[in-house]
Symmetry: C2
Subunit: 453 residues, 2 copies
Amino acid sequence: VRELSRLLGPGAVLDGDAPAARPYLHDATESRAIEGRAGAVALPETADEVAAVLAWCYDHDVPVIPRGGGTGYAGGAVPLDGGVVVTLERLRGPIEVEAGQWRARVPAGAVTADVRRRARESGLFLPPDPGSAESCLIAGNVATNAGGPHSFKYGVTGAWVTGLQVAMAPGELVELGGRTRKDVAGYDLRSLIVGSEGTLGIVTGAWLRLIPAPAMALPVLAHHPDAGSGCAAVAAVLAAGLQPATLEFLDEPAAAAAGVDPPAFLVLAEADGAHEAEVVALRDELAEVLGAGARRLETPSERRQVSELWRWREGVSLAVAARRGGKLSEDICVPVDRLGEALAGAREIAARHGLESCAWGHAGDGNLHATFMIDRDDPSEVDRAGAAAQELFALALRLEGSVSGEHGIGAVKRAGLAAQLDGPARALHERVKLALDPKGLLNPGKKVPVAPP
Amino acid sequence: VRELSRLLGPGAVLDGDAPAARPYLHDATESRAIEGRAGAVALPETADEVAAVLAWCYDHDVPVIPRGGGTGYAGGAVPLDGGVVVTLERLRGPIEVEAGQWRARVPAGAVTADVRRRARESGLFLPPDPGSAESCLIAGNVATNAGGPHSFKYGVTGAWVTGLQVAMAPGELVELGGRTRKDVAGYDLRSLIVGSEGTLGIVTGAWLRLIPAPAMALPVLAHHPDAGSGCAAVAAVLAAGLQPATLEFLDEPAAAAAGVDPPAFLVLAEADGAHEAEVVALRDELAEVLGAGARRLETPSERRQVSELWRWREGVSLAVAARRGGKLSEDICVPVDRLGEALAGAREIAARHGLESCAWGHAGDGNLHATFMIDRDDPSEVDRAGAAAQELFALALRLEGSVSGEHGIGAVKRAGLAAQLDGPARALHERVKLALDPKGLLNPGKKVPVAPP
């Protein structure tokens, strides 16, 4: 603490045992409730300070745990066994939107929703919209390759990053890409850093590509009687060659928890575009396809109603958690034609463990947040949910999917990742980690696959 | 040759000195005319055979030079100093389009245009459209992260790859990703292989994401009096928030070489979309914006005319080469607002070296194919073009751009790449190369930055 304070100045380093350090020792979300411990929490204000902290840690063999907004679900930002938490919240320079060139230079500590609003003010759009957009940071979005509903049409965070500034071992700043939209000169180290969860470097700034904001977006909410009917509707959208901006689902218990009465299997699509007529036409096509077999169809068109619908959608996670006080939510992802099997499998796992469950997520991407609602004060329930989660990962892999569509591996899915990769791919992960972090000090205990105990 | 023949069977290995091996010792394009030499040319038929060849080479310390369609411009597939050329043209299993899921499993040796046609037959679209689509292979597109006109709206090849099968050192097949559209579980090694030009592994198959084919596409061709007016028109499209599928340009000498009379600075945009009305509306908006300052505007709408226009556009490269028998074409890329400076700078360089020059390319991406028309039988002209090319790379970097937007580094731009990267980024490239190809046998002398001589 003393030496780091000399680097960063007074007030920029907290003792890991101080009460003020407590919020930096666990995820801000309630999902896993892993409580860590750290020697210090560093709050640098500049990229150079981040590099200086990394250099000091590398020099003293001290682990470094980078932290964005703390909104992860997988313990990715939790200091598992000491070291220095480096929180990026003070890297708050201006968000520089270059409107005429559809791009922005963004500091690591910019809040995602602020970047999206600044882009909108210039008529532009940053599509990735994780549910935590009002509190997560761009650096964390990059480190986890965050998604959200609009990833169906527009892709995840990495698709919008043209350049990164990264603090890398043994403590230097590296520029990977920049303003240019197209660049195949070097290896794509930018994409290697994106989604690496702070285990290869610390993101200190980003160049983002933007696109013109859609002039209009109209949702369709279809109430289906069951998962079979709902999944058939999702498949029908794809088969019809319709391309909505989002293609979401909530199963019956998730809908019930979110206040839908009577509960139904909901499919939520959004049409967007540059011209009103085109948006209305796509909305109508979506309504026709999603309406087949549906009990009810909602097509709100007033701006206020549409905003309300999306605010409600963003609140689903909290509403589900409130159902029994806690939840364990895992974001597995499967080929979209296996969505129905994944949903049925998740229900079967929950039932076998005597757990209440629900699921919602990004149907078009085959990405489901399969969730067990639990009482965190009941140790048996917590244990059973943990065991059930491991079975969920195995289910995802049986269906040729992934143990993570957007939340990452963090501290909790490393065995799942090991099972997902073949032997040579596991070895590649270890070689890449060793090449870029030879001392293994960057976010240790995270991301890299390990065999289950 | 004898030992490899035992692995691959008769007729699948050529002696490097045999006449039949000659086409595999240089680029099929005329750009650089680097002639290599190889001990053998292997023509495996399966991914396992590719891995077996790589294993044999790794065991015997023999270089391996992977080759797609040979349509590169940078000598990336040329065996510089012996070793085994591994051509992927016989990896020609079926192109499996899963229409209802918007995806395809494609063997390494599939011709890009065939994949695009198969997708179209299912109402789907693979956007990357390099000019060589009728002869390049998917493996080569992946290895170079190929682009094309439609990359402006839709991104380059990497944006469409969800999974790769790759033969990697010391000779094993690795699966990186697969059918699933969204996957943040492991490091993004898929993107690391994409664009690595065969220096980290050999692509043997790919899973591609597809999208519904646009129902219609309408071009606008604006004849501007000069580069200033044309670049202003490009900037105006961005400023107006219009999103065409392509936003191309040809300068006056390129237009002249391609038969446009009177020559003009051409800007070629294409509007596409799912509904006719929307496409027409966007086309009209583009025509209005691109028409400001233009001498003439063409807006063909009959299918035959539109096809002819794009066939003409695809022929530009050959037409330019025919002007003086040869050309040296470099694809630098700059931030889009620096396009005018890049064009002026390229002309100035050509004039100083007494060379005829022209440029065309992907204006919206700031990606220009700056070209010197030369007589290959005039050694002085060839030398001057080489020197001028080095100055082009320096120009791109002065403008904060890249020495390659889509053609790659190959054997000829390694010094340019070294100048583009900062010291830590250069070191990262070396560490990654060493981690994945410890013996340095995969396509030696390519891609990895080296200081200029």
